[in-house]
Symmetry: none
Subunit: 215 residues, 4 copies
Amino acid sequence: MARRRDNDKRRRILDAAVRVFAKKGYFGAKVAEIARRAGVADGTIYLYFHNKEDILVSLFNEVMAEHIDGGRREVAELKGAPERLRAVASRHLRLFGGNRDLAIVFQVELRHSTRFLERFTGSWLQDYFALVNEIIEKGQMEGSLRAELPRKVATKAFFGALDEMVTSWILSHREYDLAQLAGPVVELFLDGAGARGITEPRAALAAVSSGRGGR
Amino acid sequence: MARRRDNDKRRRILDAAVRVFAKKGYFGAKVAEIARRAGVADGTIYLYFHNKEDILVSLFNEVMAEHIDGGRREVAELKGAPERLRAVASRHLRLFGGNRDLAIVFQVELRHSTRFLERFTGSWLQDYFALVNEIIEKGQMEGSLRAELPRKVATKAFFGALDEMVTSWILSHREYDLAQLAGPVVELFLDGAGARGITEPRAALAAVSSGRGGR
Amino acid sequence: MARRRDNDKRRRILDAAVRVFAKKGYFGAKVAEIARRAGVADGTIYLYFHNKEDILVSLFNEVMAEHIDGGRREVAELKGAPERLRAVASRHLRLFGGNRDLAIVFQVELRHSTRFLERFTGSWLQDYFALVNEIIEKGQMEGSLRAELPRKVATKAFFGALDEMVTSWILSHREYDLAQLAGPVVELFLDGAGARGITEPRAALAAVSSGRGGR
Amino acid sequence: MARRRDNDKRRRILDAAVRVFAKKGYFGAKVAEIARRAGVADGTIYLYFHNKEDILVSLFNEVMAEHIDGGRREVAELKGAPERLRAVASRHLRLFGGNRDLAIVFQVELRHSTRFLERFTGSWLQDYFALVNEIIEKGQMEGSLRAELPRKVATKAFFGALDEMVTSWILSHREYDLAQLAGPVVELFLDGAGARGITEPRAALAAVSSGRGGR
DNA sequence: AATGAATGAGAGTTCATTCAT
DNA sequence: AATGAATGAACTCTCATTCAT
């Protein structure tokens, strides 16, 4: 079952699935159409996947495994949380910005049910969060990130921001380069939206807002 | 009197729908079950809604109309972008934190298809974004937010962060108060995650801002 | 579920099912064809039956409940095992002889799987065997049947003989009255095939055969 | 040598088929499983059999050809209908009693459709009936069986009784020796179940036959 | 002769929606 | 206005059979 001869066929099915899931949605996608687009018979799908859901799950697992692995390797070679976060953001936005159909499947189909969302969250999303969390933690230790930062909230906010960039991009009818948003997003994440000081515009505000204390 | 009964029935159907959609997902939810839970006959549903999707759409429209309206009124009474953003965030997290089923439906079912997501994004999400965007714009004019901030990115990041808080909360098995995350999220949004160190370009400011004192 | 309005519709489905099962066999019968013949929509079948198998099971249960009940009542009014066995045999052969399709379904479809056969045997066939067994037991007590007769074997042999008459009749292309075989079958069962004696032809043999002894 | 290997493979397929048909039923049995159990590839089955049904048909034909042939030879060496019937019954019950899977296939799968039953009845069952019929006819001529006996009915009743013993044995969860029922069945067939009492028409005979002593 | 990956027709069942009452 | 029995289109998955190797 694992080692079927035609590995290319499996790939063709997955590619076709991305296209069809993106266009029709998981429930609207017919297995027969995936088969047709992949150039195989309906039944052939079931030689490579247990069932329709398994196609979607395999898609996630394989794309994500590679994405996170690559992310870890890339991050390991960089110094400092800012650079690392920039790398993660850029990688995230490039992954989806380079393949609109894949983006749609991940942003939309991934969430088509609580059960599915849970499964997804419990597996690779956890890894992804762990990666970001580690970067933040090290950033705090090295002093590039604020020590009192609540890490969990920061991780979710970082991911949530990227996630929303992708979703907005999918739905936008203007064609723009998703990846170029990596810089602004990371900058906003690092510097915040608030103004600061007088000489530099942020200074004054910084004085005011500094009273917030502990929380 | 007849009108009153009608509205009550419509309300019961919507309430039942939230519960069933949250538990089974939109596609897994059977109209018959919604009817059963609402205590009406299957056919009665169609006296109040055009079809299954219309139930979900009506749900969104009505909840959101009230949510955004209330948000606008609340924001109008506050001064300064920071306070306003805090109000929006708090309101957002309280809405969902107070009704897990509603949260599930909004976080999950809302996104079950590109078509649905588009429809949703094109209507009230646009309004929501407009509200946040206005707050940011005014914040920039009044000087509380950085003038060079890219507004669109900031709006999406703000929403994305809140959105991810809700999604994580739904999936978390620990019971915690979602609304209490409003403060940290807004703070992070305003101040950013980066430290204001010496070797960093923002060194001078960091020294100033450390004196910021209580809000 | 139990009390649906149109009881006639249920009957029509069962009648159609007998015809279709008889012609095509259980596995060859399509639910759609049963629906068509019953003059209802495909889905309607499932308002009255859980699934395809339930149609067949219901058919058996209902026909048999009535058949055995009637048999018990008829037997209760008769005196002596011979008369009673004659009544049972006659009833059995009339039931199937009067409805070839029903006979086919019972002789053939009933046995299409071990699981099905077991289910059937464990329920009404057991009742049927019990009825015959009781008749034999009383016959032994009243002296009309040989006391040393192994009752279980006799019961099975009696049923097996009737059963084979029905099966042969179904497969025979000559049209003959199945019910008229009741007399010969019961007579054979009671008197045996062996010849007896001298004055009456059986006498001598009886003497001879008596030597067969113990075995 | 090649021939030998072939025959062995064909035999392995048939053996596997008996096991699988018995366990799953004809329709539930998958050709792939038969192949797996036989230790051959799926496609290999089709080098030895035309199709799935042909496996079942071949099974019947081969088992039955040998069974009836052996029966004829055995019968030819015996004298008198009683002994011959006893031989047939014993052989019948031993065949199945010695191989539960084979019994299941013959009792159950044989009857899975009218078409199949007809085919089976038209071929070897006819031969089997002919064999029994001949024995009875000769028995009538030699005087051991009642001359007025309706031969067809008697043949069917004899077979039906044996058949039911096998079916009951398959379904019984108690393990008992099926072959030992040959004696009782034949005795019942020859002597009948009826007592030879005083008030009964066969009174005189009964007195005689009572001397036959216990079985 | 043997393999086993590929085929593709086929059917049971569900369920949103309708409409006669 | 309300009912709920009836509808029937639609779709996943299975598996006997084939055929290139």
